[in-house]
């Protein structure tokens, strides 16, 4: 058992070293740097040593061979070239393969690779190589320019060897090149023809390699950007930041003792245990009101907050940086562009953004597919690009950012973009679109067809893509983790893909509903609106149930019929509709009763339910019973609802974008008020017994947080009327805090409000105007402004107390 554990550690460490080596190899192609070369050498050297200890001689031999060839580069006997990089990457791939099957290591053959590496290292090989390389037969630049490197060290500047191929790269004259260099602060220490890179007589190249040895404080990428040029090759001979990087590396090495390697299984167990603790907590919270013990309830409330914090911390242990995905993507871009004869520059941003490990695995699959598609379908060949006036090298950029618990990843290329005509033809051919509808459909609506199985704009299926199954799988993969994907494109200019993914998934906020006596849960993030069903607004058009919502017709799915085959006619009165918002379309779900919102722990359904699209999992309620979670994407797919009235959905979107101008009307102590619906995060129904007092501040519990609430009567000196048993709270988010306005009841939600001239009596803080609703004077208030003010005054000290108390409790 102990040996198994040691072997497992060896494999894990070796894979990590190989991954880092792979990243360095790809980086070296862009920016040759001796330190990176050393780190690759060290990786193979360590693997060689460790594998020898365990008797893994196949791994040892291959690592040794790779180490040998790297040593030849280090000592200047061999230039670093693309072929060498290919060979090293092959070696890495083979080692990874063997490590994945470590107990059968002896059975793996490596003689082919050994022979290839041996042949590559032969002097005859480098002499007959036809590919022009900067270092071919060239002296070692570090030795040649050792004086200049010393100068750079003294002056604390960077030293770059910058090589252009005049006529090939930029069509510049030497004068123009000289003028460009003047744009950036630098000192040219040496310049001239790179004799070792001059093409041989039998080569067809007509360009001449011209180098500059530049001393500058600029970082090489910034230097190049400012210059507005692209070099054939750039070699970093000295980096002033190198020493700082080394110090940083030393610090990181020191700090590595602060990190601990933990098995993922252990983390999974911890997460499961915390999940169970949350369920048990929910059970206690349900029973707490029956105890009639304020002190006990207060203790439970504190415990509840601690459990939420514990859950957050545990979930954070599983977070990994996106840079781990980026490393793999760099390799894929290199290999795919090479196999397709394309030139692609990859720009990556946001590698520091963190995602749950399970998300990372799904994201990687999706990104790999999207990148391959981009290179295959999108980026043109260098010749095509030149004819179009584009740079020969295509650009793919990936940007990641984190916004309030959601990770947004944008992939953009400057290729040919979507061919909408081809999409139309493909959709018509597959019977997804009629000829007449194709005449009026917009480009935005057409992009939706890309996600349907079988739709492809590629005439031939290649190894890379073209089968028309990829985008469908990408979207489904993202959906399963609660993500979405959206495309925009301009034909001829490129394609932008935006994917959003929740940072972690395990505990989510849900709406609980009743259908045919059974409870179901719906993810709150997909809920746009909740309404009471009104018969007069319902009609059946072309066999589909449709609901008139303001000026729009929304397709409705009767959940009782969908799940239990209920008769549509029965039970419609006193029903409710939840409007679901998915990507670019909306639909409604008709159900019997609304039970409230709850934070639930998602549990997977077993393999027996794999084919059922309607449910994304299950959860366990506070009473110990299982409840199914509805998969709104699955329901939309199953019912084909997204193909219904796409035009109507588009109208809904445009109307809904104006929803920020809608108003919520409510009553407090017989006074009518109105406020912008966009200010409100949620409206909570509460019992007055659930209002606590901390000093003179009223608070409630919301999402396991203590939320202070404000009465408008106090702000506007309205005579307070006795509280009813049930009240409502309008929850807003102010400066990262939840705050609430306590009201008696919600009267209506309307789209527009007719303002009337205001009376002097009702001027005051946060009052935006006056209106009439149902013939009653109604005050239009800005609750965000009101709550912002009290957050800085009345609630300020409370916020600090809560923060300090919680941080003390955590310690």
């Amino acid at each position: 058992m102990e040996l198994d554990s040691l072997i497992s550690d060896f494999v894990s460490e070796a894979l990590e070293l190989l991954q880092k080596a792979e990243t360095r190899i790809l980086e070296l192609e862009e920016d040759y740097n001796i330190e990176k070369l050393h780190s690759i050498f060290r990786a193979f050297h360590t693997i060689k040593g460790n594998s020898g200890m365990f008797g893994f001689h196949v791994i040892q031999e291959l690592s040794h061979k790779s180490e040998e060839i790297l040593d030849a580069v280090r000592s200047g006997h061999l230039p670093y070239s693309r072929e060498l990089a290919d060979l090293l990457l092959k070696s890495i791939d083979r080692l990874k393969q063997i490590l994945a099957d470590i107990y059968n290591e002896k059975n793996y053959l490596i003689s082919d690779l050994i022979e290839e590496i041996t042949n590559f290292a032969q002097p005859s090989h480098t002499q007959t190589s036809k590919e022009v390389s900067v270092r071919e037969e060239a002296p070692n630049l570090e030795i040649l320019y050792s004086e200049q490197i010393k100068l750079a060290l003294e002056k604390k500047l960077n030293l770059y060897y910058y090589l252009f191929e005049l006529l090939e790269d930029s069509n510049l004259t030497l004068d123009e090149l000289e003028n460009k260099l003047k744009l950036v602060e630098n000192e040219v220490l040496s310049r001239g023809l790179d004799y070792y890179s001059i093409p041989l007589i039998y080569e067809k190249k007509i360009s001449l390699p011209y180098y500059f040895l530049i001393l500058t404080q600029e970082n090489i990428d910034a230097f190049e950007t400012k210059l507005g040029l692209k070099a054939k090759q750039k070699i970093t001979l000295h980096l002033h930041t190198q020493q700082k990087t080394e110090e940083k590396t030393n610090n990181i090495t020191t700090n590595q003792t602060d990190f601990l390697r933990v098995k993922i299984d252990l983390l999974d167990d911890l997460i499961n245990l915390v999940g169970e603790t949350i369920i048990t907590r929910n059970q206690l919270l349900q029973r707490a009101p029956l105890w009639n013990d304020p002190e006990g309830s207060s203790i439970l409330s504190r415990m509840s907050q601690l459990i939420t914090q514990l859950h957050t911390k545990i979930m954070n242990t599983r977070l990994q940086e996106l840079s781990t995905v980026y490393q793999r993507i760099s390799r894929i871009v290199r290999d795919t562009s090479k196999s397709l004869g394309k030139q692609v520059e990859l720009k990556l941003e946001g590698g520091e953004v963190e995602l749950d490990k399970t998300m990372i695995d799904t994201i990687l699959d999706a990104l790999v597919h999207l990148i391959r598609n981009s290179i295959d379908h999108g980026i043109e060949t260098p010749e095509e690009r030149k004819k179009l006036g584009k740079s020969q090298e295509g650009l793919i950029s990936i940007r990641a950012s984190l916004q309030t618990g959601t990770v947004r990843i944008q992939i953009e290329d400057d290729g040919r973009g979507l061919d909408y005509e081809k999409i139309k033809l493909s959709a018509i051919k597959r019977g997804l679109l009629t000829e007449s509808r194709a005449q009026e459909i917009s480009n935005e609506e057409l992009t939706e067809f890309i996600f349907l199985p079988g739709v492809s704009t590629k005439e031939n299926i290649t190894e890379t893509s073209g089968r028309g199954v990829g985008m469908d799988a990408v979207r489904n993969g993202l959906k399963k983790i609660g993500g979405t994907i959206h495309l925009t494109s301009v034909t001829g200019q490129g394609l932008k893909i935006t994917a959003t993914i929740p940072q972690t998934v395990s505990v989510i906020s849900c709406l609980l509903i009743l259908v045919n006596g059974r409870r179901f849960a719906i993810f709150q993030k997909y809920i746009a609106e909740l309404l009471q069903f009104e018969e007069k607004n319902y009609s059946v058009i072309n066999g589909h149930g449709m609901y008139q919502l303001r000026e729009n017709l929304i397709p409705i799915i009767h959940l009782g019929k969908l799940l239990y085959g209920e008769d549509i006619q029965s039970k419609q009165q006193n029903s409710y509709i939840v409007i679901i918002r998915l990507d670019t379309y909306y639909f409604g779900l008709l159900f019997d009763e609304m039970l409230g919102t709850e934070e639930i722990v998602i549990k997977p359904l077993g393999e027996h339910f794999k084919g059922i699209k309607l449910f994304s999992g299950a959860t366990i309620m506070g009473d110990g019973e299982a409840v199914l979670i509805l998969d709104v994407f699955g329901i939309a797919d199953y019912t084909g609802i997204h193909t219904i009235e796409v035009k109507t959905s588009k109208e809904i979107i445009s109307k809904t974008k104006e929803r920020g101008k809608g108003y919520v009307l409510f009553e407090s102590s017989s006074q009518y008020f109105a406020t912008l619906s966009s200010s409100i995060v949620s409206i909570e129904r509460i019992s007055t017994q659930s209002i606590y007092h901390i000093s003179n501040i009223e608070v409630i519990e919301y999402k396991n947080d203590i939320v202070p609430i404000q009465r408008l009567e106090e702000i506007y000196n309205i005579e307070k009327q006795p509280d009813q048993k049930e009240k409502f709270v309008l929850i807003c988010k102010i400066e990262e805090r939840y705050l609430g306005i306590l009201i008696d009841k919600v009267l209506d939600v309307i789209e527009s409000l007719q303002l009337v001239p205001s009376s002097q009596h009702w001027q005051g803080e946060g009052i935006l105007g006056h209106a009439l609703y149902d013939q009653k004077p109604t005050i239009l208030v800005d609750i965000e402004a009101i709550l912002t003010k009290v957050n800085h005054t009345k609630f300020k000290w409370l916020g600090k107390v809560i923060e300090e108390t919680m941080s003390l409790e955590v310690k």
Partner: protein, 158 residues
């Protein structure tokens, strides 16, 4: 030797059974069933099973067992028996094989007994093909007929 020529390999699933078997006995609709105790994780009473719309007929539903969502199977539907017993059973028997889990229902659970494998008789001639797939053997004990359930077959997804 005589006893050796009579020695048979009793196979359930792909596993050859031991000579001595420890079996959990339960009763459904007056009939006794038994399963190898090594697959039996626990027995729970009074649990509510939630039916899952659109699921296969042999799936009764799902149930919460110590925080896990476990699929409950209807053995009688699997055996394509015509007379299906009432689905409201008091007892749930949770079965596990490595990382796979399912549950079956019973009216009551009795005990764990030890049976020698030479007390088992092939059920092939007594049951239909479908039934035989799940009940490969029968045993007699104290004038009771016990149907031995092939538990590994229950973990197979159809």
């Amino acid at each position: 030797m005589a006893w050796q020529s009579n020695r048979r390999n009793y196979v359930i699933g792909s596993q050859v059974m031991e000579d001595k078997l420890q079996l959990l006995i339960w009763e459904t609709n007056g009939q006794l069933y038994a399963g190898d105790v090594k697959y039996c994780l626990e027995v729970q009473n009074g649990k509510k099973i939630l039916d899952v719309p659109h699921s296969k007929k042999y799936i009764t539903g799902i149930v919460n067992l110590r925080g896990d969502i476990v699929t409950v199977l209807d053995l009688f539907v699997l055996m394509e028996q015509k007379d299906l017993p009432d689905k409201n059973k008091a007892v749930i028997i949770r079965l596990k094989d490595n990382d796979k889990q399912v549950a079956v229902m019973a009216d009551s659970v009795f005990e764990v007994i030890e049976l020698h494998s030479n007390m088992l008789e092939s059920a092939e001639n007594h049951l239909s093909e479908k039934e035989f797939k799940y009940i490969p053997y029968i045993a007699r004990r104290e004038n009771h007929l016990i149907l031995i359930v092939n538990i590994p077959e229950l973990f197979v997804i159809h």
